[in-house]
Amino acid sequence: MLKDYPGASTTLPGDPAAGRRRGVGRLVAVGLVAALGLAGCMAPGPGAPTGAAGSATASTGLKRGFENLLQAVVRIDVREMTFDAGATRLSSGVGSGVILSADGLVLTNAHVVSPRAVEVSVTLPSLERVGATLVGWDHWTDLALLRIDMADARRRGLAFSVARFGDSERLAPGQTVFAVGTPHGLTRTVTKGIISNTDRYFEASDGVRGYETGYFSTWLQTDAAINPGNSGGPLVTEDGAVVGINSRTYLGAENLGFAIPSNTARLVMQQLVQKGEVERSYIGLIPGALRDLESFFELAINTGMLVNSVDPGSPAARAGLRPGDIVLAINGEAVDGRFPEQLPPIQNRIASFAVGTSVVLSVKRNGSTPQDVVVVTERLESRVGEEWAFERWGMSVRKVSRAYARENRLPDEDGVIVIGTQPAFPAEKAGLSRGDIITKVKGETVRTLEQLKELYAAFERAPESILIEATRNRAVSLVVLKP
């Protein structure tokens, strides 16, 4: 079953970031399963009711709200490019989504639809299928936003409802919730459970198909059955209000499902609509829970955030912050990072500053009086750089990112990482393999992916032997790539 759970590690061997995964270790993304072809057996739902619940009794109001919700949940079929085989390949999968605006915005998971998608189609509750495009994605919260091809939908007279967000802050453990989606390709499956925990801490540096996730929000936990294919579908209350987007499950366990809280989803969705992305600030502090360390650091309980690690070369490092420092306040506002669950909101507070903002941190070191440190934020970037495949070389690569370079203590951000080779193609024959970093081609330092694409284009026009410099761990090798 494991292979049907995308979102399992795609880190490169020996990648130190693999050790960075914290919290619940075996939470995996669900979604994108191969369709089982059973969807057609399901009976079509009733006609779409209106969203308004102006009924006489509470129970009919609940019923209408829930029926409305059911008419807003879609199945998503995706075909996307993959680069890891040393070539461009297509893979396909199935997930779920929920329609959240009358003009056809569909919220789903980032691990269901990513920028690598080449074809996205949405199956409406009426079982009609319509195309959709990606508006934007945010792997940090595992959310992606699609827009249904409304021109086509109108032309064909396709109807659907619009779901509404509920307030995830008001959820309580024990409260009844439903998960709606396409588990294992079984379209419009409703499962029932309760909220098991409202504040589950989990972050992983490779949680969404090798991309980081969970650093800026905690998760809702539910025992409503969530299986592969449920991903991107809504977690709703009895009245049909969307309180979460189902996303993950615990591998090998039963009834441990996890969803992104609607209050996070709502904000992310707003930004994706406005800008197509969520821009965040980064300063390079990796926090740790202060629990039980207060007396050692001479702190009052519920005060401060422990700096566990400072990313080399980051704004915090340049400002002189060190591991073991305690951040007492951010811009004068006190910080409480006693428990792991409290860390994502603090991270989110820092991330929410506009890029380039000067942030004043009140920092205590070694029992000294707190001092103000000014840190200018930089743009948060993923450690996963842009990917590409060079077909005739039989090699796929990923650009070395700033985060990857820092994490691996590389001297600079030059080079591309080999993420796949095809047997008996020039790259493999030359001796290149997954994990190697190509630093020079034909004597030129590889600074951008574009540069390598140009060199490749020249090779395609006039194939010739090319000298390549590659590093593996600390060893530099020269190889010749022959046509």
Binding site: P16, A17, I286, S309, V310, T471, V476, V479, K482
Partner: protein, 472 residues
């Protein structure tokens, strides 16, 4: 024996399966008809073979090992292969060496003299000698192996069989230069560490560790490629000419010997295509991946990414496989002494650069590093050596620390998350820059029964972490 630093992507192949056969027109060994009966020669030559038992002592347990060695002189000097003892273990953890003559159960206690940096061989001295019944390997005439000639070697059984010697026979199949000259037979010819002889009793060589043999494994319709290694028998041996001249290289002490050193990181061979690309003709080259700042190579002007093409004015020879050139170069360095000069011809981009390095002395190695075990805390602190910093890419930074070399399972430190291999940067907020000071600090914690906690700042992978160890 084959250099293990394969170039990018090249799979390691079996020594005997490699292409170039260096046919040696050696001295023909005596005809079998003229030779004395094999059982008699065998009984005589077995007197040069010994079994050695020793223990590796760790913080919490002892592991026994039994290996085979050769007698190198009449006073009780015994030589073991590089692979007989893990090279990274500090000699203080090697305990209770006992030398047994084959077929006996009364052993002679021995002292560990150390490991030679050139050959990697380990030297032992039997306390009070090994008596009249042993014969040093140096006592025999030597011969060159000839392809197809019948040869034999000594196998040694386990301790429960009182190290009974047994005869192994075969034919010379191949002789290669890797860069030392190594002979091979198709089947096992000796226990690793035992000598190999010609039919008439002339010494042909010394059996090395066995190479993994490539095999296909079929399991329920699945096919796997596996490497199988026989720990008790080997088909390859160093020729006598690669052994006898080095048997006198007994270290003066188990640690602290001056080892020649250039201060370069990651010497990488180039393959034939690259050599052609660099217009090297029939010679080979080695890439210097990086240089240690202020090391001997850096001081002489060597830069990272320089390509070594010549040594003492001579182009680097080409071997099969290409990667053997790295072992060749490393051996050439180790054959010299700290303070000696070494002339290198380098290719830097398109330019040829010639310079002379004054060979330096290798900084403390892993096995020479000071360490101390704190039994109550269950932690061994070890001073960090250059190797620790290089493997963490920290040699040019200013972060320093001591290494948690061992963490006893289920102790407070282990429960708190400390792992063996973590670099400890600070103990109770005090930077652990100086090993002696860090030990003092840890000792104070170890002695203080009233203490309730201590806090470590550790570095693991790319991140640091504050760890609180709760003692009570």
């Amino acid at each position: 024996m084959v250099d293990s630093h394969a170039p990018l992507g090249r799979t390691r192949r079996l020594a005997w399966s490699l292409a170039l056969v260096t046919a040696v027109l050696g001295v023909c060994t005596a005809h079998a008809a003229d030779a004395p009966p094999l059982d008699r020669v065998f009984a005589e030559r077995v007197r040069s073979v010994v079994a050695v038992e020793y223990f590796v002592e760790t913080e919490v347990d002892r592991h026994p090992s039994t290996v085979v060695g050769i007698v190198a002189d009449a006073k009780g000097l015994v030589v073991l292969l590089d692979s007989a003892i893990p090279g990274w273990l500090p000699p203080a953890q090697l305990k209770d060496f006992v030398i047994y003559r084959p077929g006996t159960s009364d052993g002679t206690p021995a002292d560990y003299l150390g490991q030679d940096h050139l050959t990697g061989w380990h030297f032992l001295h039997a306390r009070g000698g090994l008596g009249e019944s042993v014969v040093p390997c140096t006592a025999y005439s030597t011969a060159e192996p000839v392809i197809g000639a019948e040869i034999w070697g000594v196998g040694i059984m386990g301790k429960d069989f009182e190290f009974q010697p047994y005869l192994l026979t075969g034919h010379v199949a191949l002789v290669q230069q890797l860069p030392q000259r190594i002979g091979s037979t198709v089947s096992e010819i000796a226990s690793p560490g035992a000598p190999v002889f010609a039919r008439d009793g002339a010494l042909l060589g010394w059996a090395g560790a066995s190479n993994p043999q490539e095999r296909l494994l079929y399991l329920e319709n699945e096919r796997y490629t596996v490497g199988l290694q026989n720990p008790n028998g080997t088909g390859s041996f160093f020729l006598a000419g690669e052994v006898l001249p080095y048997l006198h290289r007994v270290p003066a002490a188990p640690t602290g010997q001056p080892v020649p050193w250039l201060g370069v990181i990651g010497l990488q061979p180039v393959d034939r295509e690259v050599a052609e690309f660099l217009k090297l003709g029939k010679s080979s080259a080695v890439v210097v991946s990086d240089v240690i700042a202020d090391g001997p190579a850096a001081r002489a002007g060597v830069q990272k990414r320089d390509i070594i093409v010549a040594l003492e004015g001579r182009p680097l020879p080409r071997f099969s496989p290409d990667r053997v050139v790295t072992a060749y170069l490393e051996r050439e360095i180790l054959l010299r002494q700290p303070g000696d000069s070494l002339a290198l011809g380098l290719l830097r981009g398109q330019t040829r650069v010639d310079l002379t390095i004054t060979i330096g002395r290798q900084p403390r190695s892993l096995k020479e590093a000071d360490r101390r075990y704190f039994p109550r805390l269950g932690i061994t602190l070890r001073e960090s050596v250059l190797y620790d910093l290089i493997s963490r890419r920290m040699e040019s930074g200013d972060e320093r620390g001591v290494v948690a070399n061992f963490v006893k399972p289920n102790t407070p430190a282990a429960t708190a998350g400390l792992q063996a291999g973590d670099l400890i940067l600070a103990i109770d907020n005090e930077p652990a820059v100086d090993y002696a000071r860090a030990v003092e600090r840890m000792d104070a914690i170890e002695q203080d029964a009233a203490r309730s906690e201590f806090v470590l700042l550790i570095s693991r992978g790319a991140e640091t972490q504050v760890i609180r160890v709760r003692l009570r």
